[in-house]
Amino acid sequence: MENSLDLKFNYTEKKDTRSGFGDGILELGRTNPNVVGLCADLIGSLKMGAFQKEFPDRFFQTGIAEANMMGIAAGLTIGGKIPFTGTFANFSTGRVYDQIRQSIAYSGKNVKICASHAGLTLGEDGATHQILEDLGMMKMLPHMTVINPCDYNQTKAATIAIADHEGPVYLRFGRPKWPIFTDPAQKFEIGKAWKMIEGTDVTIFATGHLVWEAVLAEAALRQDGISAEVINIHTIKPLDTDSILESVFKTKCAVSAEEHQINGGLGDSIAQTLSRHQPSPLEYVGVNDSFGESGTPTALLEKYGLNAANIVTAAKKAIDRK
C-alpha cells in the first residue's frame, strides 16, 4: 500500500521499538545514577544487555519470577532508586497484576514497568504471549501512567522521559522492526498528544504500531478526497482530553486505532471523553473480543482488522455517521 501513496511522513530505516527502550535505558544509566534495571530472564529480548554490561551493580537478574521482580522493584524505591523492570507485556501485567496493584500502584512506588512484545505484532509465538488486554488493566489502576509509543525514536524518548516522572508508569513497546518516522531529537511530553497531520473531515487517534498504519491511511483517504487529521496518542493515561475535544469539535467524527482489545483500550477512553463533552460518531479499530494466533505481524494485522485499509474503512464509516 505504502509504495503508491504520497505520505506525510517517511522513513529510511525500520527498527524494533524494544531497541528504543534498550538504548534509552543505557543513556539513562549514564545520566541518572538512581536508575536501576531488573529483568526476568529476558535480557536479550528486552535489549537490556548493554545496560547490564555497563552497570552490573545496578542490574538485577531475577530469573523467571516476575511477581518477585515487581516486589523487589517496589522495595528498591525505598532507598531512592528508580527501577525499570523488563519482561514481556503479558508477564508485566496480567501475570503480576496483584503485585503491581498492591506493592506498586496503591503504595505509590516510583517503578517503571517496561513491557515488550505487546500485541499481535509479536507474531509467530502466538496468543499465549500476544497480550491484548494490558492497556486496559493498567489504565484502570489509580494513578498509573500508561504510555504506548509508536516507533524506535519515540520509545527511546519516552524511556528517558519517564525517569523524571515521579510515580508508577507502564511503558509498552514491541518486537517487530517498524518504520522510524518520528524525530530522533523529539522532546517526549507525557500526557501531551501529538497532532501529526492536520485534517478536517475525520480524526484518527492512533497509538503504538498503529500510528504508522494511520499515516498510511491518511494518504489513502486523501487520494479519495477525504481530509483526515492524525493524532498520536502516545500517552493513554493521563489522556490529553483537550487535544481530543479540540480536534473532534472540528472534524465531528473519529476513529481509534490500537493493537489491543476494543474492550478497555484507547478507544474506550476516547469514547468516555466524547460522550461526556462532545458526543460524536467513533469507530474502533482494534481486536474485537478475540485472542490472537501465530503468523507474521503483517498477516495478523490484516486478519484481525488492524491495518491501514481497516482504518480507511472505519474513517469512511465514521464520516457517513455524521
Binding site: 545496578r58 511477581a67 518477585n68 523487589i72 506493592s103
Partner: protein
C-alpha cells in the same frame, strides 16, 4: 538511648495488647489473634533491636527498616508505631474508620508514618524487603532490613521466588521472621496445607535458619533477634522461625485459630483487659 529492661519491655507488651483489643473491639472488626501472638516480637524490634527514627523518612537511609507482609495483623503494628512515637496514640481511635490513616490493612496511601508498603494481599512482603535490602547495599548503608511473614502465608508461591532470589544474590542484610503459630483462617496449617518442615525448606533454599522456641517470652525473642543479627552479613539471608501462640496473653483467646479475624464482645473485652494491666495509659 538507654536499653530498656526485660520488665519494662514486658510492661509495654501489656499495653500493646490492650491497644490491639480495644482497637478491634471499637469497630468490631480486625485481627486480634496473631496481633497478640506477635506482640513480644514487635516490641522487641521497635523498643530494643532496631535503630530507627520515628521522624519518619520513607527512604530509611542509615536506619534499620521493618516490613510487615501479613498485613492483617495491623493492630499490633499500629500500636507499636504509635507507642514508639511515629504518630499520636489518640489516632488509634480511628482504626478502620472512614477518613483514617489506620486502614484495615497497612497502607502508604494515607501517609501514615512508619508504613513503607501496603500489605494484606499475602506473599508480597519478602520481595519488597529484598529490594529495600539491595537498595541499602547500593547506598553503602550498613543497616538491616527486617520482615515478618505469617506461616500460612508460606503457601503463596511468590515467597519461594523471593527465597530463591535472596540466597542466590546473597542478600545477607535481611532478617526474615515467620510467625509460626501453626494456624490459618480455615484451621491448623497441618490440616489446611501442611508446611511440614520450614527449616529444611529454607535451608535447602540456601538460608541460615534459627528457631526462637519461646516467641512469647521477651528474653527469648531478644536472644533470637540478637542471634539472627550475628548471623547476618555472612553471605546468606537469615530466617528466624518464631514459635508463638495466637491470642497469647488472654486466656480464652490463646492457642486457637478462632480469634484470627473476629472481635471480642463488650464482656469479652472487659475480661481480656482484666488480664492485661494498663501500663502506659490507654489511648
Amino acid at each position: 538511648m538507654q536499653k530498656k529492661s526485660i520488665e519494662e519491655l514486658e510492661s509495654i507488651c501489656s499495653q500493646v495488647r490492650r491497644d490491639c483489643l480495644r482497637m478491634v473491639h471499637a469497630v468490631q472488626s480486625g485481627h486480634p489473634g496473631a496481633s497478640l501472638g506477635c506482640t513480644e516480637f514487635f516490641v522487641g524490634l521497635y523498643f530494643d533491636q532496631m535503630d530507627h527514627d520515628p521522624q519518619f523518612n520513607m527512604n530509611a537511609l542509615n536506619e534499620d527498616v521493618f516490613f510487615l507482609s501479613n498485613g492483617h495483623i495491623s493492630p499490633v503494628f499500629y500500636s507499636v508505631l504509635s507507642r514508639s512515637g511515629y504518630f499520636p496514640i489518640d489516632e488509634m481511635k480511628t482504626f478502620r474508620k472512614i477518613n483514617s490513616r489506620l486502614q484495615g490493612h497497612p497502607a502508604t496511601h494515607e501517609h501514615l508514618p512508619g508504613i513503607r508498603i501496603a500489605s494484606g494481599s499475602l506473599g508480597q512482603g519478602l520481595s519488597v524487603a529484598i529490594g529495600a535490602a539491595q537498595a541499602k547495599k547500593l547506598n553503602k548503608d550498613d543497616k538491616t532490613v527486617y520482615i515478618l511473614m505469617g506461616d500460612g502465608e508460606q503457601e503463596e508461591g511468590q515467597i519461594w521466588e523471593a527465597a530463591m532470589y535472596a540466597a542466590h544474590w546473597k542478600v545477607d542484610n535481611l532478617i526474615a521472621t515467620i510467625d509460626l503459630n501453626r494456624q490459618q483462617i480455615d484451621g491448623p496449617t497441618k490440616e489446611i496445607m501442611d508446611l511440614i518442615d520450614l527449616r529444611a525448606k529454607y535451608e535447602s533454599f540456601g538460608w541460615t535458619v534459627i528457631d526462637t522456641h519461646e516467641g512469647n517470652d521477651m528474653k527469648s525473642v531478644l536472644e533470637g533477634l540478637e542471634k539472627a543479627k550475628e548471623l547476618s552479613r555472612k553471605g546468606k539471608p537469615v530466617l528466624n522461625l518464631l514459635h508463638t501462640e495466637m491470642g497469647y496473653g488472654v486466656d480464652f483467646m490463646v492457642g486457637t485459630h478462632k480469634w484470627h479475624g473476629i472481635a471480642p464482645s463488650d464482656e469479652q473485652l472487659a475480661d481480656a483487659l482484666g488480664q492485661l494491666p494498663e501500663t502506659l495509659g490507654d489511648y
